[in-house]
Amino acid sequence: MKEQWIASETLDMLLDEIADGQKTIVAGGTDLLIQLREMDREEKPTEIADLSCIENLKRIEVTEDGLILGATVTYTDLTNSDLVRETLPMLAQAAMDVGSPQVRNKGTLGGSLANASPAADMAPVWVLLQADVVLQKKGRERVLSVAEFLTGNMTTVLEPGELIVEIRCPLWKGASMHFIKVGRRNAAAIARLNGAALLRTDGGRITDLRMAIGAATPTPLDLSDACEGLASDRSKEALDRIAKETIRRVEGISGRRASAIWKFPALENLSRRLLIDVMQKGGLNSETV
């Protein structure tokens, strides 16, 4: 059996190496190592490709495509970046709640997306912001929305030999944003529910109101269409309707499990709260039109 550790220095070299689809990719390693531990000796990967040497995958910059985040940007990179704090501070806020400092120092945005845990904290944020992922394999690049990229519990459209290269995030200039996470403890907690909302107004009138919920369905739930009515009616009843719609959609996708006893009422409350809080941040009062 062939055994090799691949530490290419350029993306092209790496894509070449992994083209046969046989290599195990390691970015931060925080998810992979836990999986490795569960494997029998015979199951352990023998060909590993390390992404950590490729400079190109670490960039954080703003272009006409928006905020560009390389796949191996860590959560700490995100929270420390002045550029991110200036353009999309909610990304830094959400990243701060992920895991622990040790996990944030090593865990990568691309690695997390590829892992596709339903409880991932950044996932609903990407869906909210309508971010895209850039995927490359030898000889092909494709760009998909994160919503299209994530297809189910721990599953994505990634093909063998294909890599997440970067995330492209629209800037949503002028928008107010809010992120929440509920875990059983205040650090190193897997989200039992998370979500994010954004609001843009023009002269007191809502032009954009989006909401995405995570940890309730296999992939993040985009409820932005359900929020459209808020542009003209921000009454308590309107908020309740959206909250109930949120539950209806979750149940439609995931059914009503044992955890629903807590999750459904909590989610109803949280979706309402998310909207109230983001509207407050945007200077709007929820009872007026």
């Binding site: 807590w262 409350n269 949280l270």
Partner: protein
């Protein structure tokens, strides 16, 4: 107030030099891994180790038949089972290989077949008729009772009676160091390095397993990475297992459990289902209490009866109640067995009485603190055990709680906060009061004695030998404090010898927060003997005045009435040795004998009680059921703080553990199988979960402790949970009567309250 001294073992721990068992390596060392049973109840039909033995790096597979001595006593978990398995986790075989990894991989390949027997997981069902008996003929091991006064009268005198079901859940020690042990066969005796809570118990079990006399087993403690009541019988088994490997292979042997194994096999706190009936007059005076407890002992006995006894004795809380009727039923189930866990039966019944008291306060429309004060024990009162108490400081603890929490203001502030809220947050303040029996008591836990030897070396330096395990609680520092205080020496002169059972006297188990009192007193005695010898030496000096009193201070000894006459400590030591005498002191202290009448359920249960009171401010999010600890005030009367900084740390640690118990820890079992076997799903509080912990240390001198000190390790965690859930109840306006008060329970309670 004593001058601060740093922990004596701190340097090694800070530099990474402290050796825990898994850090130890010997040449040609081999490693063991367990094959554990995968069914809850049944008999082994066959063990097939062929796949495992095929590996080059596997030396052998050890089973019951290889045990030279006895594998285990009746009702106790065996080192390896012979045939009958009683819970998922019982040990079946040990695979020995040249690396830990290889041993574990090979162990996974050992195939065991069983004849399954019906299993029972619910203790209430387990004690019904026709249930599969786990030991003997019935799963009801024992009922422990307390009977005080006349219950008829108690109910007749009551103007208000409430009845409630209260329950607590299964949690674990979760010491950060997983269990590990190393053994070497030395030709005529076995040497075992391990982190035991009760080194002499472990030594005894190893001797029984190997069929050796006790003096052929030498146990040397490695640095203990936390115990909290664990690493007790678990360590007896692990120690025996590595001893077996070493004996049978002739090579140094190590076995370290990974976290999943530590969780699967390590003992747990007894879950209790309790029923309370409490009667009071309208002015709050308690007239009667009936407590019924069902304790889930799991699959083996260990100390479940003793735990149940302590629960029984303490079930009435720190209150004067003239009529009390308590029964604690200990039942077996086919699950991981329950054993000592910090508190040893106190946390559960403290939870029960304290949440019921709050419910009663609501019913009486009385302030919870006022209700406690109304009924709090005082000197001369008769405890529910019939014992007349002295040195009762619960009143002072409640005073200190009121003051430090600015009680009335805090309640006002919180009420206002809640009224002004238009969001989902609500605050609450909850209190709880504590009394806890000190040391082992009359409940059959063992003979409460300790031996400490103090040796003054020829240069005036000091070696202290004690059989108590330093599990992090600072007992070594405590003994250094006592010796240095009594002899007027700088603490740096003293060193505590490593615990090696070949050299230290049997000081009993490191449990029940008994260390300070029992071993402390033994230390005092040892030093008294040394002082007597010094006196005899100095009495022969020309300048000595007959019957003079000696003062030991600043490393000198002087005459009290002629302070200009002095001799240095070193000089006195030299004189003694040149006088053909020695300065070795053997201290042996036995706790006062106590008598408990099992039939009547009355007696002198403990020679002393310790007291405390706690208050907690929480903020609850009604949207999600999430509780945030704002601040936790912990008032504890420690007698004399021998090392106040260590007291502070013990209190904070105990509170943090209680926060975990209340809000986020839970061992989840399904059909006898633990579902959450690592720390990603068994959640311990992090630094961001504990809020502001504020210890308030009272020092009401104890009559019996060394230099007036009292035990501390367990009182500090026993009433944290009720203080927290009483605070949540205050915030919600409805009582939480079960643990854990996690997201699900709190949101459900909040929704129920809203509907009503």
């Amino acid at each position: 107030m004593f001058k601060e001294i740093p922990r004596v073992d701190i340097q090694a721990k800070l530099t990474g030099g402290a050796k825990y068992a898994d850090d130890m390596v010997f040449p040609r060392m081999v490693y063991g891994a367990m094959v554990r049973c995968s069914i809850a109840h049944g008999d082994i039909l066959s063990i097939d180790a062929e796949e495992a033995l095929k590996r080059e790096d596997v030396l052998r597979v050890i089973t019951y038949d290889d045990i030279p001595g006895i594998a285990g006593k009746a009702k106790e978990r065996p080192v390896l089972v012979k045939e009958r398995v009683r819970f998922i986790g019982d040990g079946i075989a040990i695979v020995v290989a040249t690396s830990q990894q290889a041993a574990r991989e090979a162990a996974a390949k050992v195939a065991v077949t069983y004849k399954e027997l019906p299993a029972v997981f619910n203790p209430a069902e387990a004690i019904e008729d026709k249930q599969p008996a786990i030991h003997g003929v019935s799963n009801l091991e024992k009922v422990i009772s307390m009977r005080h006064g006349d219950m008829e009268q108690g109910w007749n005198q009551a103007e208000v009676i409430i009845e409630e079901d209260v329950s607590t859940h299964r949690v674990q020690h979760a010491a950060i160091e997983p269990e590990s042990a190393v053994a070497l066969w030395q030709g005529d005796h076995i040497e075992v390095y391990c982190p035991p809570k009760s080194p002499f118990n472990v030594r005894r079990v190893i001797s029984e397993t190997l069929g050796l006399r006790i003096n052929k087993v030498r146990l040397i403690t490695s640095t203990v990475g936390g115990s909290f009541g664990g690493k007790d019988y678990d360590m007896s088994l692990l120690g025996s297992r590595v001893a077996l490997i070493a004996r049978l292979t002739g090579r140094p042997a190590k076995m370290t459990y990974n976290r999943e194994e530590a969780i699967t096999e390590g003992t747990k706190r007894h879950p209790y289902r309790m029923h309370y009936k409490i009667g009071a007059k309208k002015d709050g005076t308690l007239t009667g209490l009936q407590v019924d407890v069902l304790s889930d002992a799991g699959a083996y006995l260990s100390k479940s009866a003793m735990v149940g006894w302590r629960s029984c004795v303490e079930s009435s809380g720190p209150y004067l109640i003239p009529n009390v009727h308590t029964d604690v039923t200990v039942a077996y189930t086919n699950q991981i067995y329950s054993d000592s866990l910090r508190g040893f039966g106190s946390p559960q019944v403290d939870y029960g009485i304290e949440v019921v008291m709050d419910k009663l306060a609501v019913r009486l429309d009385m302030d919870p603190l006022a209700l406690r004060r109304k009924n709090a024990l005082k000197d001369g009162d008769e405890h529910a055990t019939g014992q007349i108490l002295s040195g009762v400081s619960i009143g002072h603890c409640l005073d200190a709680l009121e003051e430090s929490s600015d009680y009335l203001e805090t309640r006002k502030r919180i009420t206002q906060f809640n009224q002004e809220q238009n969001g989902p947050l609500r605050r609450g303040f909850g209190i709880a009061a504590l009394h806890r029996g000190e040391a082992l008591g009359a409940g059959g836990e063992g003979i409460d004695t300790a031996g400490v030897n103090v040796h003054i070396e020829k240069d005036g330096s000091v070696l202290i030998y004690c059989g108590l395990s330093e599990v992090g609680q600072g007992c070594q520092t405590m003994m250094v404090r006592i010796v240095s205080e009594m002899l007027g020496l700088k603490p740096e002169r003293c060193r505590v010898s490593r615990l090696d059972t070949d050299y230290v006297p049997d000081s009993g188990p490191t449990v029940a927060s008994r260390g300070t009192v029992i071993a402390g007193n033994a230390t005092v005695m040892a030093v008294e003997i040394i002082k007597e010898k010094i006196r005899n030496t100095l009495a022969q000096q020309k300048w000595f005045k007959k019957n003079a009193e000696l003062i030991y201070e600043d490393e000198k000894i002087r005459l009290k009435n002629n302070p200009e006459v002095e001799v240095s400590f070193e000089e006195a030591v030299k004189l003694t040795f040149s006088n053909c005498d020695n300065l070795y002191g053997n201290g042996w202290w036995a706790a006062p004998k106590l008598v408990w009448n099992w039939e009547k359920g009355q007696g002198d249960a403990y020679f002393n009680y310790v007291y405390g009171a706690c208050g907690c401010e929480v903020e609850v999010d009604l949207d999600t059921g999430k509780t945030k600890i704002i601040r936790f005030l912990a008032v504890h009367d420690v007698g004399t703080a021998l090392n106040i900084e260590e007291v502070y740390g013990q209190i904070c640690g105990g509170v943090a553990m209680g926060i975990g118990y209340s809000l986020m820890e839970e061992v989840k079992l399904r059909d006898g199988r633990i579902q959450n076997t690592n720390l990603d799903s068994y959640l311990l509080p992090t630094a961001m979960d504990i809020g502001s912990i504020e210890p308030v240390i009272l020092q009401e001198h104890s009559a019996i402790g060394p230099l007036g000190a009292k035990g501390l390790g367990e009182p500090v965690t026993s009433i944290v949970a009720p203080a927290i859930t009483n605070a949540i109840s205050d915030a919600l306006g409805t009582q939480i009567l079960e643990l854990p008060a996690d997201l699900e329970h709190v949101l459900a309670a909040s929704m129920r309250e809203e509907q009503e």
